[in-house]
């Protein structure tokens, strides 16, 4: 059991005119806790996960696992990642047993009988029939594959698990079962977990803390229930309002013209607050708020509630209603 810490991590791709996918992100996943990370595509949340496991280049800052820089750790690290698409994350030509075996630490299990027993144990752990170890992934459903992917991640005996959109390729009826499984595994094995999803409802269900990412930055982070019931950053509120729900209308809280603005181009991030071209309480609506364009709200974020990266956080202003009734429970 150990904590995962991102210390001012940046990930840059390409040369001088490249793209900063993750910009100075600091985030801690405390030991044994679940931190949910939400944000839209292109916000850098998956890149952050990939940086932690060495699949994306860390150009500045450090990723610390139990206090030690991951770059100094041996190749088989107690840090594992489960991928989004269970159809491409398993080698179609390897039986699921082989895939799981491959991820076991070398020498951890004596002989092939020992490894087979471990495969059976892991398959049982994720509620799959251990007799299916010889099955090829092509014969499994999406939900079953995702269980295999989980078992493979657990084969590496991780202290920390990163789950990157692991339910978004699954059907609703299967999603629940996988989430139940993830939660019970996390509790049983006391894993620290970074749970990434674009779906706030999914993140809310699992997480102790929630971090919100926008254009490569963390704009708000705090205890799950607080972030959802008392969001400080305007973007968090937009995400909450936009979450589809069977009991809310499409036209709640219409944003007028701002509703149709385009997501910003990560190659040319806006100056000051990166959210300002879309912010309904920003300079495009309140002309006097030039500070949003000129000054980066990341400065001083540590002093604000939920470390919100905004010059005009909700608690600075008069208390307003939460965008959606019933979002708090």
């Amino acid at each position: 059991m150990s904590e995962l810490m991102f210390d001012a991590v940046s990930v840059r791709y390409g040369g001088r005119r490249g793209l900063t996918a993750v910009d100075q992100v600091s985030l801690t996943v405390p030991a044994g806790q679940v931190v949910g990370l939400v944000g839209e595509s292109g916000s850098g949340k998956s890149t952050l996960a990939r940086a932690a496991v060495g699949l994306a280049p860390v150009s500045a800052g450090r990723v610390l696992l139990g206090g030690a820089d991951v770059r100094g750790l041996p190749r088989r690290r107690p840090l594992q990642l489960v991928f989004q698409d269970p159809y491409s994350s398993l080698d179609p030509r390897m039986s699921i047993g082989e895939s799981i075996t491959e991820a076991m630490p070398r020498g951890a299990h004596r002989g092939s009988a020992g490894r087979r027993a471990e495969v059976a144990r892991l398959l049982e752990l994720v509620n799959l029939d251990p007799d299916r170890a010889a099955t090829l992934p092509g014969h499994l459903s999406g939900g079953q594959r995702q269980r295999v992917a989980l078992a493979r991640a657990l084969a590496g005996r991780p202290d920390v698990l990163i789950a990157d959109e692991i339910t978004s390729a699954l059907d609703v009826s299967v999603q629940g079962a996988v989430l139940n499984l993830v939660r019970s595994l996390q509790r049983r094995l006391n894993l620290s977990m970074l749970f990434i999803s674009h779906n706030l409802a999914v993140v809310r269900y699992l997480s102790d803390q929630i971090a919100v990412m926008y254009l490569g930055r963390i704009v708000e982070v705090g205890p799950a229930e607080q972030v959802l019931t008392d969001p400080q950053h305007r973007y968090t509120r937009e995400l909450l309002a936009a979450a589809p729900s069977a009991h809310s209308s499409l036209f709640d809280g219409d944003l007028g013209d701002l509703a149709d603005t385009e997501p910003a181009d990560p190659h040319h991030p806006p100056s000051g607050c990166r959210y300002h071209p879309r912010c309904p309480i920003g300079p495009l609506v309140h002309v006097d708020r030039t500070v949003c364009v000129s000054e980066d709200p990341a400065e001083g974020a540590a002093r604000r509630r939920h470390r919100a990266a905004c010059h005009f956080t909700a608690s600075d202003l008069a208390p307003t209603a939460i965008p959606r009734g019933g979002s708090a429970s």
Binding site: L90, D91, P105, L128, S141, N180, R204, E238, A246, S329
Partner: protein, 642 residues
């Protein structure tokens, strides 16, 4: 596993029965048999010098005549098979091995060294193969060894390139990343994950490459820098035969024909193998079998304003084992200006229903219906040409991935304009102006400028807007949107759903929104059809969703949908079991195996969609009665789902 192997085996058998497969097998067997047997049987006769019969034409004793030493040409050609084929195969094996190593190196070497290898290969690929072969032949010296190496090295670059391209596509897949995260080393990564997944196309190309090597070898020998006397291959025989071509054309023709036939054998085998392993897929031919008859459905009352009438729609696909029917008798109506949602999980047949309505189900799929009418026109009986105009202007489709619906090489504005040029006969300028107007109406900022951009310059949400804009180029009376927001972020999703809703009210356009997300549908539509295993199981007003759907599946789906107020203390509700495969739908209710309310009747009798109130239809023997759908969480064993 066993079925997988069986299917594979039958695929090979089926391929062997096609003309291509049969030809290639016969030719290859012939070539191999000759290569093995000819030298054993006819070695002596091929070398027998007969000074009495020098340079003769074809005759009874020498079918193809004799050469300048009086040796029988037919036997010489037959005997030369072994050397010609062996050398070609040898060259191919060396060439492919070198190519593979070169191709694989960049993924194992440090980055800079890898780049160097790639650029060397890139330069080598730019040279014509034969030129390279000649160049190497000169370097390695005249003779058999030199020629083998020359041809091998001439082949290597193109194989290296192929291996690199294939490997790059595999390396980008998640399972390779997953192995890396698990701590698997580079070499093992290459051997266990990359090579097996690129093996098939490589084998196919190597086989075809062997044909080319055969030809190249004959060329070198013909030029005198390949096989040297006293050995002989077809190239040398060709060379010798050419000297006396006016006296005995057969002497030159025979080795030529041999080269062509053997080359053909390799190429055909390569093609046939490619067909089976799916490098290039050939659709298997299916005999005309009658489509299974759909059950009868109770005809519905349609008002005068019915825009789309679907009655007993069925979509069937032939499989080797019989028909599979993913859409089994779907009936519904969409009135003018109405927004109807179709909800279901993957495999429920919802997307196929949408495709069938827009006549986009591709052969060999078969669409049947008692009635399928759009704007009063029967879609199944009206000839394709007449339909094109109607569908082109009055029906718009929006798919999940707009990138595949736009031509990536043409500007967005032009692609929109084309619709009007074709269907409304507008001149180019007018059509473009209309395109810009439509882009503006779907709220694309700076529409004028964006119209001149290419699809890849648009973000996902903007592309989806442009797609809707394209649909609006005509005067659509119905927009069918199939998971239009699934690939988009929630904020963008809401923008797009609003746009759809607005389009509907502004143009009195009906919408058929197909989605897996019951929340999205209930926010956007007046009415929703819930589909399960190819059937509509419930048809209700979205307003009634809160009051309580009647079908157990709809209830389960609703309960399984996570919301922002789901109780965190409890395990999530799941629907135990999984939907039936479309070719194994049970006799009774398809949901029975997963249904908490199922009785014996459900197992044997298939419920039909029947009205419970004027605007509510349910296909269930025991529609649930109690009002509010309590979000009861059934006690579910952890392993229950799927």
């Amino acid at each position: 596993m066993a079925t997988g192997v069986g299917r594979r085996g039958s695929k090979w058998l089926a391929a062997a029965r096609t003309p291509l497969g049969a030809c290639s097998i016969v030719l290859l067997t012939l070539v191999v048999a000759l290569a093995v047997l000819a030298p054993i049987l006819w070695q002596d006769r091929a070398f027998a010098v007969d000074t009495d019969a020098i340079g003769q034409g074809p005759s009874g004793t020498h079918l193809l005549g004799t050469d300048s030493l009086g040796r029988d040409i037919l036997f010489r050609v037959l005997v030369a098979t072994r050397l010609s084929v062996t050398l070609a195969v040898l060259a191919t094996v060396i060439g492919v091995t070198v190519g593979l190593v070169l191709g694989a190196l960049p993924s194992v070497l440090p980055r800079a060294a890898g780049r160097l290898v790639i650029s060397v290969v890139t330069i080598a690929v730019a040279f014509p193969g034969l030129l390279l072969a000649l160049f190497f032949a000169v370097i390695f010296g005249v003779g058999t060894h030199g020629a083998v190496l020359a041809i091998a090295f001439a082949m290597a670059p193109s194989f290296a390139r192929l291996a690199q391209t294939l490997a790059a596509s595999v390396v980008g897949r998640d399972f390779v990343s997953a192995a890396k995260v698990a701590g698997v080393g580079r070499i093992r990564l290459l051997v266990r994950h990359v090579l097996p997944n690129i093996g098939e196309p490589l084998v196919v190309n190597a086989t075809i490459g062997a044909g080319a090597a055969l030809l190249a070898f004959a060329g070198l020998s013909f030029l005198g820098i390949g096989v040297q006397a006293p050995d002989f291959d077809w190239g040398r025989l060709l060379n010798e035969g050419l000297d006396g071509i006016y006296l005995n054309p057969a002497a030159a023709l025979a080795p030529g024909v041999a080269v062509v036939l053997a080359g053909l054998a390799f190429n055909l085998v390569g093609e046939a193998v490619a067909g089976v392993v799916g490098v290039r897929t050939r659709s298997a031919r299916i005999g005309r079998r009658s489509v299974p008859a759909a059950g009868t459905a109770a005809a519905e009352e349609h008002g005068d304003d019915a825009l789309l009438v679907v009655e007993n729609l069925q979509v069937a696909f032939p499989r080797p084992s019989g028909w599979t029917v993913p859409v089994r008798g779907v009936s519904f109506t969409v009135r003018a200006g109405e927004a109807v949602g179709v909800v279901g999980e993957s495999g429920s047949g919802k997307s196929l229903t949408g495709l069938a309505v827009s006549r986009l189900v591709e052969t060999p799929g078969v669409v049947t219906a008692d009635r399928l009418e759009f704007a009063g026109t029967p879609l199944l009986t009206t000839p394709e040409r007449e339909l094109r105009g109607l569908l082109g202007t009055s029906l718009a489709m929006v798919f999940q991935d707009p990138m595949t619906s736009f031509n990536p090489t043409r500007r967005i504005g032009r692609q929109l304009a084309e619709v009007s040029e074709q269907h409304q006969g507008l001149p180019r300028r007018k059509a473009f102006e209309r395109a810009v107007g439509r882009l503006r109406s779907v709220r694309i900022p700076a529409a004028e400028r964006r119209a001149r951009q290419y699809p890849h310059e648009f973000s996902g949400g903007m592309r989806q807007r442009a797609m809707i804009g394209m649909g609006l180029m005509g005067e659509p009376r119905l927009i069918i949107a199939d998971e239009p927001t699934t690939a988009l972020d929630v904020t963008v999703q809401r923008q797009l759903l609003r746009l759809l809703a607005r389009t509907r009210t502004e143009g009195d356009t009906a919408i058929l929104l197909i989605s897996h997300d019951i929340a999205v549908v209930s926010q956007t539509c007046d009415r929703m059809l819930v589909m399960y295993a190819g059937r509509v199981v419930e048809d209700l007003l979205t307003g009634d969703l809160a009051a309580g759907p009647r079908h157990p599946y709809t209830r389960a789906l609703l309960a399984a949908t996570l919301e922002l107020d789901t109780d965190r203390a409890e395990p999530l509700t799941v629907i135990p079991g999984r939907p039936p495969e479309p070719d194994r739908v049970p006799a009774g209710c398809a949901f029975a195996a997963r249904c908490p309310a199922a009785t014996d009747q459900c197992l044997v009798e298939d419920p039909v969609l029947e009205s419970v109130t004027a605007a509510h239809r349910v296909a269930c023997w025991h529609p649930q009665e109690d009002a509010a759908p309590e979000r009861a969480r059934e006690a579910v064993t952890a392993g229950g789902a799927e």
